[in-house]
């Protein structure tokens, strides 16, 4: 990837992120923040590569910490977002005055 191409990717991705979020209702702010928190868990692949190419003990230790933290970011982000959105669906069902036991 040459520098200028990388710069184009950066610019287009920035606009994409802005557009994707621009009309989100307040009620979804918390789940969406959590969801975007999950998405930057992609740092896991970078941490894996960094550890995979580590040679010295110092590099390995830092690399291990990196992978551990990144996995925590990705998995934790996914679990809490999923739990919240599940609940959100249930509350939508209740808004139509369904029986309280109807959620799942």
């Amino acid at each position: 990837m040459t520098g200028i191409i990388a710069l184009y990717i950066f610019m287009l991705a920035a606009f994409t992120g802005y557009e994707v979020i621009s009309r989100v209702p307040v009620i979804l702010h918390t789940p969406l923040m959590s969801g975007s928190n999950f998405v930057h868990g992609i740092v896991l692949v970078g941490a894996m590569v960094a550890l995979g190419e580590a040679h010295t003990t110092l590099e390995k230790v830092i690399g291990c910490i990196g992978v551990l933290l990144a996995a925590g970011n990705a998995v934790g982000g996914y679990v809490v977002t999923e739990r919240m959105l599940q609940m959100f669906k249930a509350s939508g069902a209740r808004a139509k005055k369904d029986a309280p036991g109807a959620h799942g």
């Binding site: 950066f10 307040v26 998405v39 690399g63």
Partner: protein, 462 residues
């Protein structure tokens, strides 16, 4: 085609798919109808990217990689599944900080190995590393504050100057390393140590009420750090996902700050502490306690009751009890409504999730614009664990740090009952003028216990 080349092609193609899944997933998450499937799409993308990365050419240390993934996954899965909905904001902060720390770790590994040959790439590694480390330690402080591990806000004279000096020192060392003047391990270590201190000193002075904005900001910063390290590793998935989160997170931060009527600069640089001292002296009058049986009678014979739930109610897990209380009142013919401030649950949208969990129907819940004109003809405003969002000082006192923040006009109600655990000031540390009004009564105790007492009192009325 060699084995390496085909593996590389597969990895590139998979990262492309991942990027598409992430963007579409986020798009789906921004609409109520499709939100649930959005996280599944993004999750599938993450899984694909993680699996193909094992095929990366020239990788070693597989046992270490797998062990670290297993440990990280187990810890996060365990904590994420078991955290109460009320504590979601600090968990987001925690997981976000971990991402920032991971980005910083990538930068550290690359820089300790010797700064990358290209000065531009070196600079990106350094800047991404600094941002990641700031996000890591800053998020950790935000987590500790929301979790109650750190109480209050540490502030002292010259704090901003000190923060600025630390920032400049980190940047100076960063320039030394990136420009290949001195990329010795000592300098690299100095960069990260200073960046970690910077995150702490930036976050400590910020009041608890502003924390959601700060968490959202660190979320955006982690995204940016991930994107920068993506440039260093020449990894398109990291560049795209990181940048998308960086810009989406920035927008989300602005939306949240707007909901609280605070500018981002205001949150970060002129923290609550600067003008708070002047405001605390303005409140006069006394706190007038009431017991649950009197409060129960007051509620039972009211025509209209507006409930203002705050984080305190959620902490006490009282939403079920309060809803039970409301149902009792509704049976008696009392008109009951819930008034939700945009930041009632510490984060926009958080309180709606909590009330929905307890079974409160949506048509009883009103937001600030719908309900504010109704307080005047409400007999009782029942404040449960809310504080700053009903502080009339925000309307009247220009010297107050929360001046100008939109508040719920609970003080306009004929009677105000405040359920509160103790006599301390609010989360932001500001005295609440509402509590001292002539028509306000304080009902001290844990919201869940008080709720049960109120239910008993109303039943006793018959």
């Amino acid at each position: 085609m060699s084995e390496f080349a085909s593996a590389a092609l597969l990895i590139q193609a998979s990262y492309f798919v991942t990027a598409v899944l992430f963007i579409m997933g986020l798009k789906r998450m921004s609409s109520p109808v499709t939100a649930r499937s959005g996280i599944l799409w993004a999750g599938a993308g993450m899984l694909v990217a993680t699996l193909v990365t094992f095929l990366y050419p020239g990788m070693t240390n597989y046992p270490l990689i797998i062990a670290a993934i297993v440990v990280g996954t187990a810890l996060a899965w365990w904590s994420g599944k078991r955290v109460a909905m009320t504590n979601i904001p600090q968990m987001i902060a925690l997981y976000n900080g971990m991402g920032g720390g991971a980005a910083a770790a990538i930068a550290a590994v690359e820089l300790y190995r010797g700064a990358p040959a290209s000065i531009a790439i070196s600079a990106l590694a350094v800047v991404g590393g600094i941002i990641g480390a700031v996000s890591f330690s800053g998020s950790a402080i935000a987590f500790a504050k929301l979790q109650g591990l750190i109480k209050g806000s540490l502030r002292f004279g010259g704090q901003k100057i000190l923060t600025l000096i630390v920032l400049l020192a980190a940047l100076t060392l960063g320039v030394l390393a990136a420009a290949h003047w001195n990329a010795s391990p000592a300098v690299i270590t100095g960069i990260f140590a200073l960046a970690l201190i910077l995150g702490v000193s930036m976050t400590l002075p910020i009041g608890g009420a502003d924390m959601p904005v700060v968490i959202s900001l660190y979320n955006a910063l982690t995204g940016l750090a991930v994107a920068f390290e993506g440039f260093v590793l020449n990894n398109a998935a990291m560049i795209i996902a990181g940048t998308v989160v960086g810009s989406a997170g920035t927008l989300l931060t602005q939306l949240m700050a707007k909901a609280m009527n605070r500018s981002l600069g205001n949150v970060l640089f002129s923290g609550f502490g600067d003008t708070g001292a002047a405001a605390t002296g303005e409140v006069s009058g006394s706190l007038k306690p009431i017991d649950a049986s009197d409060a129960g009678v007051m509620l039972a014979f009211a025509h209209k009751v507006i409930i203002v739930p705050g984080y305190g109610m959620a902490v006490a897990q009282a939403q079920h009890k309060i809803w039970e209380l409301c149902q009792l009142l509704i049976e008696r013919g009392v008109l009951v409504k819930f008034a939700i401030h945009p930041v009632a649950g510490r984060m926009p949208g958080h309180m709606n999730v909590l009330l929905a969990e307890a079974g409160v129907p949506y048509d009883l819940i009103a937001d600030i614009d719908e309900i504010n004109s109704e307080f005047e003809n409400a007999d009782v405003a029942l404040i449960i664990g809310a504080n700053d969002v009903v502080n009339p000082v925000a309307r009247t006192d220009k010297s107050s740090p929360i001046y100008g923040m939109p508040i719920l006009n609970a003080d306009k109600a004929k009677n105000v009952i405040v359920i509160k655990r103790g006599k301390g000031a609010g989360f932001s540390g500001i005295e609440n003028g509402l509590f001292y009004l002539d028509n306000t009564r304080m009902l001290y105790g844990d919201a869940q216990k008080v709720g049960a007492e109120l239910i008993a009192a109303i039943k006793a009325v018959g």
